[in-house]
């Protein structure tokens, strides 16, 4: 099913991650529109995703079809949602992160350069590991892109978006070039303005208790998820480092075993074998923690940001509404342009109410999704940790049995 440009290295990930669903956000999949990424190809510096759609909706020409998309086209779709005023009242599903193989590629390159300084076995082993790492990153990026599409497809309003349908169906290149320098600069300024604005707007106390509570909650939650995500990543990296050390220890023990002339040679070989196996388990533990914990936290970092953005838009519209009210009062006092002011005020009011209504629902859904996702992932994390610890224990005990029996 998956076609990657690499050898399929040793199974580095847990069995649960065969398919691309790394982060499960508990979506309700509707039979009328199902989207998934059925294939992916990794090339030099880009990834080509095959987006596969199954739909009974009338607006599509066929019931089942596939197109090839690249990362930039996902971003284009996401940005079009964000810029659409009609969607101001919804949590826009966070854009998938850019596929980043740089670190992995750098490591592979370093390995190639250092090939002369290590034994053939060491080199093959490390190469296999790096390939497995590359594969893991690849699978993850596919999963993230798929989750984005699924969230859109599951959203009652967004799924009807025209751009989305074009994205799914148009089997030519969308010619969505990446943003050029000028546009990137514009984006940068927009963000600066937005955050300054956001601070201003956040200071406005909301009459509605629900939103006031949500604002406080989201602000704090977002920061803490950010912190947890970073600390989780550091923890997992240490774990991987320790597993790498075990790999080297296994090699050294093997050398000692083959060279020793005493009874220790069998001993060393057995312990070397143990370290080799134990290391694989440790690496799996790190990988599973990455999948179930780190990715979960990263995803909710992005989602909580999207929720914050929604609140910001609502606050913005509230400020606009209040300003419109003030302007209307002024107009009435001066008895000039009253109708225009009235219309404007009506517009702002309507916009504000619409956003508030949908935002409330969105935030409630967000909580439900979050709780479900955490539950699923924490349970799976605990189960995997247990499985690995038990496996490790068994390995150790059987090895000890052999060693003690021989001495």
């Amino acid at each position: 099913m998956m076609q990657e440009g690499l050898d399929d290295g040793p199974d580095f990930l847990s069995e649960e991650d065969r398919g691309p669903r790394a982060v499960n956000v508990d979506l309700e999949m509707d039979a009328t529109l199902q989207v998934d990424i059925s294939d992916a190809l990794s090339e030099r510096d880009k990834v080509k995703f095959t987006v596969h759609t199954k739909s009974t909706l009338p607006n599509f020409k066929q019931n089942e079809f596939s197109v090839v998309r690249q990362h930039e086209e996902f971003i284009w779709l996401h940005d079009s949602f964000v810029e659409n005023e009609d969607y101001a009242g919804y949590i826009i599903p966070p854009a998938p992160p850019r596929p980043d193989f740089d670190a992995s590629r750098e490591k592979l390159q370093k390995l190639g350069e250092g090939e002369g300084s290590m034994t053939k076995e060491e080199f093959t082993k490390m190469k296999q590991e790096l390939e497995a790492e590359y594969l893991a990153i690849f699978k993850k990026t596919v999963a993230m892109h798929e989750v984005f599409l699924c969230r859109v497809a599951a959203h009652p309003v967004l799924r009807k978006d025209l751009n989305f349908h074009v994205f799914l169906e148009y089997n030519q290149d969308l010619s969505v070039r990446g943003k050029n320098k000028k546009e990137k600069l514009e984006d940068f300024f927009k963000n600066v303005v937005k955050s300054a604005d956001g601070v201003l707007v956040a200071g406005v106390k909301d009459v509605d208790d629900f939103f006031e509570h949500e604002k406080t909650f989201l602000l704090e939650y977002h920061n803490r998820v950010k912190d947890s995500s970073a600390k989780c990543d550091r923890m997992i990296r240490s774990h991987k480092n320790a597993a790498d050390d075990m790999n080297r220890i296994a090699s050294s023990l093997y050398m000692l075993g083959t060279q020793d002339s005493t009874d220790l040679c069998k001993f060393f070989l057995k312990v070397s074998e143990l370290f080799e196996k134990t290391r694989k388990i440790e690496a799996r533990v790190a990988a599973d923690e990455d999948l179930k914990l780190a990715d979960l936290l990263k995803y909710y970092l992005r989602e909580s940001q999207a929720a914050k953005d929604l609140l910001y838009r609502r606050s913005r519209s509230l400020v606009d509404y209040e300003n419109a009210n003030k302007a209307l009062d002024k107009a009435r006092a001066k008895n000039r342009d009253v109708l225009q002011a009235e219309n404007n005020q009506q517009l702002c009011c309507h916009k504000f109410e619409k956003i508030s209504e949908s935002a409330k629902q969105e935030l409630v859904d967000f909580k439900t999704r979050r709780v479900a996702a955490f539950r699923k992932n924490l349970v799976e994390l605990a189960e995997l940790e247990l499985k690995h610890a038990k496996g490790n224990l068994q390995l150790l005990q059987s090895c000890l049995g052999v060693l003690k029996g021989n001495t």
Partner: protein
């Protein structure tokens, strides 16, 4: 090398013929020489001393050799080399079971050691079994400021009659240990005994302790040192010869020990040591020995390889220790962060679960810390000890080279003198002639003696080294097996704890609704 078995020179009264045809050595499992008893044996009865005689029939070899039958079978190549005749030394140590030299005599030990054979002490039947346990504990800071030092309690528990009591302790400081090692090295290294090296000095570590920093790193330093000192003492007493050395016994037993100032790095003795080390290194490069014994060449190569491999393994294990400590720190930080996240989560059940996760991670971080300690104190220190021990082994091989060189030098000098004598025969100065002739004759006689002595020394050291190496290898096998098994058991414990923690967490996670 020695071409034939020859009678010992008359000046040395220690040697006597052994009439008894019994080969007592064959009773012990480590029979080395299978020579019949017609060879001269060493009888050191004249030098026996006091009431401690019997205890010297220490049969710790029983212990070692009992296990050795598994590891070094009688058919093993190592054994074969020992049993083979080839260029083996002339003197076979077949002892009458009565008298044995006691090394309690401090003086003139050089002579005793070269001429007597400690083989008897090892290969005797009967006597105490090796039963001694030393622990180093209770580090206590004595004094203040830069003159402060750590005093350690050295407790010996033993049933051996070598000691005055069964259970006793003394207070010692680090320089005392270094002093002990320095004394043992000066006595035994040059005749081929592998003296276990003392733990290394650390100026940085000690300064922190002196200055009074009561933080974790200085506590760790003290613990590391305490553990190293304990291992050092145990290794030293496991050596059957060293155990009976009067300096060792004094170190363990007497309450007051003269301060060993010569161990300070910047003392005159310290500087002399450094100079000697440098001189040795240069000499080693210039000595080209004709190795006629393949065993030595093979063993030297073996130890070079072993050294390289152990260093590599040691480096990897040190890296593991470091990363595991990092993991522990990072896990602790994540635990705190997760707790904060749990606090801000407004869904009650999820909030509780996150707090539980934080607790689990906190326990796990402690687990990682404990495991890192096991990694270090069991695995890493074992490797470090053996890297240092192998340096001592290499040193002993170097001593053999030096001994050979000395012998060769004497031989060359003798040759020169003989040539000079021959020249004189054809000279035409009758008055001076007789005097010079006599002088040269005297010198030649002296040199002949030296040459013989040199050859004997060389053979003796070669023999000693063979025994020492085989003992060393036996100990190495024992050590590694025991400690690695212990280390694996620590890993087992960690996994069992992990299982406990995650099993406790799982229902909490499932309880999120």
């Amino acid at each position: 090398m020695a071409d034939s078995i020859r009678d010992p020179p008359a000046e040395n009264t220690d040697f006597q013929e052994l009439e008894d045809g019994e080969d007592l050595l064959l009773e012990s499992a480590a029979a080395r020489e299978s020579e019949p008893a017609s060879l001269p044996a060493v009888d050191i009865s004249t030098k026996t001393n006091g009431p401690k005689q019997d205890s010297l029939f220490d049969e710790d070899t029983e212990d070692l050799f009992a296990e050795a039958t598994e590891e070094v079978s009688l058919d093993s190549p190592e054994r074969d080399v020992l049993l083979s005749e080839g260029p083996s030394p002339a003197i076979t140590p077949i002892t009458p079971p009565i008298s044995v030299i006691t090394p309690r005599i401090g003086h003139a030990h050089d002579d005793m050691f070269t001429h007597s054979s400690f083989d008897e002490i090892e290969e005797e039947e009967g006597g105490d079994s090796f039963d001694i346990h030393i622990s180093v504990s209770d580090p206590e800071k004595v004094g203040d400021g830069m003159n402060a030092y750590m005093a350690y309690k050295v407790t010996t528990k033993t049933s051996m009659s070598l000691f005055r009591q069964k259970d006793f302790s003394v207070k010692r400081r680090f320089s005392d240990f270094l002093g002990l090692h320095s004394k043992l090295a000066s006595k035994y290294l040059h005749i081929g005994y592998i003296v276990p090296p003392a733990p290394e000095k650390s100026i940085v570590g000690m300064t922190k302790v002196k200055v009074g920093k009561e933080d974790q790193s200085s506590n760790e330093f003290v613990e590391k040192r305490r553990s190293a000192l304990e291992r050092y003492l145990m290794r030293t007493v496991k050596h059957p010869i060293l155990l009976k050395d009067p300096d060792v016994l004094q170190f363990l037993e007497s309450s007051e020990l003269p301060r060993a100032v010569n161990t300070q790095a910047l003392s005159s003795a310290g500087i002399l040591r450094m100079v000697n080390k440098a001189a040795d290194a240069v000499n080693k490069m210039t000595i080209k020995m004709n190795e006629s014994d393949a065993w030595f060449e093979e063993k030297q190569q073996h130890f070079e390889n072993l050294d390289a491999q152990l260093r590599k393994l040691h480096a990897s294990v040190e890296s593991l220790v470091c990363h595991r400590k990092e993991l522990s720190v990072n896990t602790a930080q994540f635990a705190k962060s997760a707790a904060m996240l749990g606090n801000s989560e407004d869904h009650t059940a999820l909030s509780r679960a996150l707090s539980q996760l934080a607790e689990v991670e906190e326990k796990i971080d402690q687990l990682h810390q404990d495991q890192a300690n096991a990694d270090f104190y069991l695995f890493s220190e074992l490797l470090g000890d053996y890297v240092r021990l192998i340096t001592a082994v290499k040193g002993v091989f170097d001593q053999r080279m030096k001994t050979w060189q000395k012998w060769q030098d004497s031989q060359m000098l003798l040759q020169k003198k003989r040539e000079a004598e021959a020249k004189l025969q054809f000279a035409n100065k009758p008055d001076k002639l007789q005097q010079t002739k006599d002088e040269i004759k005297e010198e030649i006689e002296e040199l002949e003696g030296k040459v013989q002595q040199g050859e004997r020394d060389f053979e003796q050291i070669s023999k000693t080294i063979r025994k020492e190496v085989s003992r060393f290898e036996r100990e190495r096998v024992k050590d590694f097996k025991m400690i690695i098994v212990k280390y694996l058991e620590s890993l087992v414990q960690t996994q069992q704890q992990l299982i406990k923690y995650w099993e406790a967490f799982l229902p909490e996670a499932k309880a999120i609704s």
